[in-house]
Structures are given as structure tokens and as C-alpha cells.
Amino acid sequence: MAAIELRNVVKTFGPITAVDGLDLEVPEGICLGLLGPNGAGKSTTMRLLTGQAIADSGELRVLGHELPGEAKTARGKMGVVPQLDNLDVDVTVEDNLAIFARLYRVPDVGKAVDKALDIARLQERRRDAVDQLSGGMRRRLLLARGLVHEPRLVLLDEPTVGLDPQIRTELWTLIGELKARGTTILMSTHYIEEAERLADEVAVMHQGKIISRGHPVELITEHAGRLTAEVYGPPERLAETRAEAESRGLAVRPAGPAIAIVGSEQADGFVPDDAVVRAASLEDVFVLLTGEEAE
């Protein structure tokens, strides 16, 4: 049984179609990265899965429960780590966890809180109010709160958005540990590196649809080939090179001050001598497929 099954799901907000005929299946035990630019429909998909948004049409099933009718039962078996910090800041670390252990009907609240504190590595700060914690500690606590009932499925909504690199690495370690325990994870992100590091499979979402899906290496091979050549120079030269590459059927994308000729191994001697040739990346795939700059 798949942990998540979405079939032809549509969700609109007035004239805006946030999710547009979405098909998504997440088998148990994998970490699927939902990669897409801002506004791709990732957060709406997450809200549909928790029953906080109701689809206009389509079928949704989470851990065997039909949504939205059985959303409450499904929520009891999944953990959610939100994009925004919504901890109770005046309340102690352990009380924040205990409240959610009760909401999830955990029979032994004390034991669950202890386990979650171990996960967050916050045993020594358990009696401190949340507003006394550092940003990294708060994010770890937010993650631990979503795991306090040992869920089978965890939804991570942009888990490291806006965090500095050190805190991001700390969070990645925790998510890696969660993966190692066999928990099914659906993680929305717009960070390429996060998806590459953590996800067993990546689904690229754009304008409310999954436009490509696979293991990161497979996606790179399928859409970007083996090599990418980055060409630097004045705008006229870049425009000229771009036009020439496109006339030869090569995919070209902007790459900051340069242009990147994707799949340059097939360029047949066209690549300029001063180009910087590197291995094709998931970022190349992301930009080619979505037309958006990667982060």
C-alpha cells in the first residue's frame, strides 16, 4: 500500500489553480522530495494532505484513509513539520511537546516527551521557555514536536527555509536519522541541495503538476545529459552563443552571469574553449523544466 495516493487532484482559489490535476504516489519507507519554485503548489498539496484544504475534485488517500472524510484519523498517524515556527514561545520546551503528545492521544506522555527531547537534543533545555532557545534549537524542537507520536508518515513543509547553513546542516542530520528509521517522508523544498541530499526520489512540481519524477541521478541523465558547459562573457557574446547553441538543438539556461549549455557532451565541438565544463546537476534539470532560477 502506498503511504500517499493522489489521483487527478484539483484545487483552485478563485481564478488561481494551485493544484492542477495532480497525480502523486509515495510508497512507504521512502523520502520523496517535492521540488518546485515558490507558487508551484507544494504547500497547497501539503494542506490537502492534512485536510486543511479541501480538493475541488480528485481522489486523495493517506495511509489507507480517504480524504477529506477520514482526514482526522489519517492525521493521527502522520506528523507535520510546518514551514513557519508556530511553537508556544512562553511555554517550556517539554510542555510544547507534552501538549502535542496529548493532541495525538499518546498513552504515555512523559515517555514520548523524553524520546522527542532526545531526538531534538534538548534534554538539558527541557524546562526553558521556547523564547530562550536559539533559532536552530527551535527548528529541532519543531521537528521533534511532529515526531512525538512516532508517526509512520512525516510531512516536512520547506523544513529549512530561511535558515543559516549551519542550522540547515543540523536539520539535515536529523532528517537523515528519521529516514534511516524507515519513516515515510514527503518533503517539499525549493532548495536543490536539500532534495539531492535527502530525497530517494524527487518529483519536480510546476504550476500545480508533477512534471518529472525519479531518482536525482536518473532525472539528471534524462533531462540534462552528462555535462554542462558554462560560458561567461559580455551580454552580446552570451546572446550569440545562446542563439547558436539553440539552433543546434541544445538546451540553454541562464546561470547567473553566465549561460549554461546543458548536455554539452552532445555539442559536437561547438562548446567554446574558455567554457567551464562540469557534471550536469539537478539544478540544471530544475531550471530547464520550470524556467525558474534555482536556490
Binding site: F13, T50, R75, N86, F100
Partner: protein, 260 residues
């Protein structure tokens, strides 16, 4: 977690949401309790002692300070129920994203709203009794009927908590509470019969005052202190109906606000 499909209005879900309120209350109870005791004391000194010394000796045979003191229960109830429900709900939803966190757990909007109302009802039911205790300290004779005051306050506070939650789910901006306060809260507070008997008002106002839950609460609290009548059953039933209506309206409005 049970494999069975969860039911509506589960006591464990409601208790879980209330446990969050209790945990937060432990961090600010001193300030709330201080103001809940000081406010009626100041009002009693200003209106009760001030007016009774200069203008009014008694109302319908009741010393004015006792008339105001018993009426102040309603003031304490509306200010500790409608206002926290309005501002607290708005802040938790818009600024703290608390409800997003709670609704990601196995709790639905009906349980969330019920828990918020129950918590405010219990708190307000307790604080509502403070003016009565202060008035006893100022010479009001204790009566057995006063033991029902927490219940009257609780039911009224439930109604005003539902009103506050519904308003919080309806307004677009926090400043719009100024309209709610000016159009509803202040008039209800002033024509409740707290400071003067409503039978001195023009006929139209008297009819409106009868539909004011705060007036019914004032009458019930005074009845508890000075003697019940059969009509008090109808007054209590009115408050129960008021609470039931605002509960359902609050759930409806919050559902619209929280579920896309």
C-alpha cells in the same frame, strides 16, 4: 492511535487543546488575576462608594454598593470572555499560526472552537465571581443562591466566547474590533442594568435590554443574592440558548476561515 475512524467532539481532543491553554495560562495568570481583582474593586470604590455617598442611597431596596457589586459580575464576565476570545483567537490564527499546528494533529475545527470556548468559559466563570466576593467584603450578606453564580457566569461566558471567536473569524483586520467593541460590547455592558435599573429606561430600550444576555446574567446574580423567582429559569434557559447559537456560529465562521 486507534485504527477506527475518529468521532466528532472527542473529549480527548478537547482536553488536549485546553491543556495548551492551561500551559500558556501558567505563564501569565498573575497579571490576569491581579487585574480581575483590581478592576471590580476600583469600580466599586468609584461607583458604589462614590455615588452612594452623594447621589443614590439604594435601588429597589438594595444598598447601591450591593446593587453595583452584584451587577459588576456581568462586567467581569464580558470583559474576560468576549475580548480574550476576539483578540486571542485573532492573534493565534493570524500571527502565531497556532491553529495550523493544532489542526495538523487529529483535532477538527469543531473540537478546537469548543475547547477554546470551554476554557474561556471556565476562566471567566471563576473571575466573574470576584466582584461578588469583593461586594461581600463591602457588606453584602452571603446567600446560598450565590453558589450558582459560577454556573451563571460560565454559561454566559460560553456565549460571549462564541461571539468573540465568531467575530475573530469574520473581521479582516485587528483594527475592526473597534467597530465590534463600539457597536456591541460597550452598549451591551451599559444596558445590562449594572449601574442603574433598566426599568428607568425608555420602553424601546427596555425591550432591547431583555434580549441582552448580560442583563439576564445581572438579574440571575442578583436573584442568587436576594432571592430567586420562577422567571429566573427562563433567564437561564435564554443564556443556554445564547451559548448554543454562538457556539455553532463560531464553528461555522472558523471553518470558513481555517479550512481552504
Amino acid at each position: 492511535m486507534s485504527e477506527q475512524t475518529m468521532r466528532r467532539l472527542e473529549p480527548t481532543a478537547i482536553a488536549g487543546v485546553m491543556s495548551r491553554e492551561v500551559a500558556n495560562f501558567r505563564t501569565y495568570w498573575k497579571g490576569t488575576t491581579f487585574s480581575s481583582v483590581m478592576e471590580p474593586l476600583v469600580y466599586l470604590l468609584a461607583f458604589g462608594l462614590g455615588l452612594s455617598a452623594t447621589l443614590v442611597d439604594e435601588v429597589n431596596g438594595v444598598p447601591y454598593i450591593q446593587f453595583v457589586g452584584t451587577g459588576m459580575v456581568a462586567t467581569a464576565v464580558i470583559f474576560s470572555s468576549a475580548l480574550p476570545a476576539m483578540f486571542g483567537t485573532f492573534v493565534k490564527h493570524r500571527f502565531q499560526n497556532t491553529y495550523d499546528a493544532i489542526l495538523a494533529a487529529p483535532v477538527d475545527v469543531e473540537e478546537l472552537v469548543s475547547a477554546e470556548m470551554l476554557w474561556i468559559g471556565l476562566r471567566s466563570g471563576t473571575y466573574g465571581c470576584v466582584p461578588l466576593l469583593v461586594t461581600i467584603a463591602f457588606g453584602l450578606d452571603p446567600a446560598w443562591g450565590m453558589l450558582l453564580t459560577p454556573l451563571f457566569c460560565f454559561v454566559t461566558a460560553l456565549g460571549f466566547a462564541g461571539f468573540g471567536v465568531a467575530m475573530a473569524a469574520t473581521v479582516a483586520k485587528i483594527d475592526q474590533f473597534n467597530y465590534v467593541t463600539a457597536l456591541f460590547v460597550t452598549p451591551l455592558f451599559l444596558v445590562a442594568g449594572t449601574f442603574f435599573p433598566i426599568d428607568g429606561l425608555p420602553q424601546g430600550f427596555q425591550v432591547v435590554a431583555q434580549a441582552n444576555p448580560l442583563h439576564q446574567l445581572v438579574e440571575l446574580v442578583r436573584a442568587g443574592a436576594f432571592g430567586f423567582e420562577w422567571a429566573d429559569i427562563a433567564r437561564f434557559a435564554f443564556l443556554v440558548v445564547f451559548a448554543l447559537i454562538t457556539w455553532r456560529v463560531a464553528i461555522h465562521q472558523m471553518h470558513k476561515r481555517l479550512i481552504d
